[in-house]
């Protein structure tokens, strides 16, 4: 955050005027949803804003300097978003406590992401990007954490944004598709998948639990209750889970994997040997 002088950022009125106009236009357009099988692809104003902003970079309207000045706005904007998520959780605290130990422990399932996706990311040639990509499912609090810790332009920041963008565009439809498929194709109980649906995003939870209800209509009320409670818990604990468990574990596993591949190369056995 100290990289650019905040004073010049504050006075960059061309940048702010363009951002205000982008926000006004995209919010006025509003949300579109495209049904794809059991799920929906949600097109939200923030997505148009991202791609329009990106497009403007390649026009004379936005200079390299304007683009650099945008970064502190992202970092401080994220702090406001985290504050908003916090004040949404406070009033629900009793519901969270009542939800119980099963809900609490299934949060550890998020580690499945690290064990499944980190090796693939490293195998595909990602370096420190893989830490941002696989430490969590890259929802807003996790993006906030990574941006806050490593900066938005860092490899970790690029990684977390890549998964964030994927999740924003395809997260709901992807979870909607696989939850129905997995619940019908595996011996696991649909209520276990209901709890898993609460990944910390309302639209993803709705899509994932929605297709479970489609497959098991007789369990509708229980599915909704379990998914909703789990989602609340993911929203309230997800950030701290990432700070204290997810991110340190990812960094640890990453350094072990990198050390191992360096040793292999040192032995003369290159990756293709």
């Amino acid at each position: 955050m100290e990289k650019v002088e905040l004073k010049s950022v504050i006075k960059d009125w061309r940048l702010h005027a363009i951002a205000f106009i982008l926000v006004a236009i995209t919010e006025a357009i509003g949300l579109f949803s495209i049904s794809v099988g059991p799920g929906v692809i949600l097109l939200l104003p923030m997505l148009y804003a991202f791609f329009l902003g990106l497009g403007l970079y390649f026009t004379p309207l936005i200079s390299e300097k304007n683009a650099k000045n945008a970064e502190p706005l992202i970092i401080l904007g994220v702090t406001l978003l985290i504050a908003k998520i916090g004040v949404t959780i406070g009033p629900q605290i009793e519901a969270i406590i009542a939800a119980g130990p099963a809900l609490l422990l299934q949060e550890l399932g998020n580690l499945g992401t690290i064990f499944l996706a980190l090796p693939l990311a490293v195998l595909l040639g990602f370096r420190r990007e893989s830490i941002g990509m696989t430490h969590s499912i890259a929802r807003e609090p996790n993006v906030g954490l990574i941006v806050n810790k490593f900066g938005f332009s860092s490899p970790e920041g690029r990684g977390v944004m890549a998964v964030y963008i994927f999740g924003t565009v395809f997260g709901a439809v992807f979870l909607g598709l696989i939850s129905g498929l997995l619940a019908t194709a595996t011996p696991l109980h649909p209520l276990s998948f209901a709890m898993a649906s609460g990944v910390g995003s309302g639209s993803m939870m709705a899509a994932a639990s929605g297709s479970l209800i489609g497959a098991y209509p007789e369990l509708e009320e229980q599915i909704v209750a379990f998914a909703g409670a789990s989602n609340l818990l993911s929203l309230s604990t997800g950030l701290y889970f990432s700070i204290f468990i997810g991110l340190p574990l990812t960094e640890k596993l990453y350094s072990i994997m990198m050390r191992r591949s360096e040793r292999k190369i040192a032995k003369g056995g290159g990756p293709n040997a």
Binding site: N66, L80, V87, I89, A138, L145, L191, S236, I243
Partner: protein, 150 residues
């Protein structure tokens, strides 16, 4: 510190204006109805940023901000009903849109790096979502069976 606080306040205020515009156009909440809530969120962010600078722990500002925001909105905490009522005027997506607008403008300068992420990052992202979903379902299955619920 004082210089930082003043500059943070300005940047938060500029961002806040963008969010209020989005809130107005997207959620039909007039800006002056949302100003008290925005001021609360700005105050929480400022305190969190100050704590990060002032305290010796390696907790990022967003950690302090989350805890603080939960505390002041807990039922029974004096004034929490105002905090909840005021901030409820601001949609989460109204804050997300300006973040992504600035992010879009900003990533332009990293576009070459972003393009390199390409198809491979798509594959990783799929496993990221599959991993969380399957991992949570497996643990829930074990505990629910153990509790005799399923």
């Amino acid at each position: 510190m004082l210089k930082s606080v003043i500059e943070w306040t300005w940047v938060l205020a500029i961002f806040g204006i963008a969010a209020l515009i989005g809130n107005w156009f997207g959620m039909d909440v007039l800006p002056w109805q949302a100003i008290p809530g925005m001021l609360v969120l700005m105050a929480v962010s400022l305190v969190g940023l100050m704590l990060e600078k002032a305290l010796p722990f390696s907790m990022p500002a967003v950690g302090y901000i989350g805890i603080l925001a939960i505390l002041i909105s807990l039922p029974g905490v004096p004034g929490s009903e105002y905090v909840v009522a005021w901030t409820s005027q601001i949609g989460i997506l109204s804050l997300a849109t300006p973040i992504l607008a600035y992010a879009g403008i900003s990533v332009g300068s990293n576009w070459a790096d972003f393009r390199q992420l390409g198809f491979r990052s798509f594959l990783v992202a799929i496993l990221v979502f599959l991993g969380t979903f399957l991992g949570s379902a497996l643990i829930a299955e074990v505990i629910l069976r153990w509790q005799g619920i399923i």
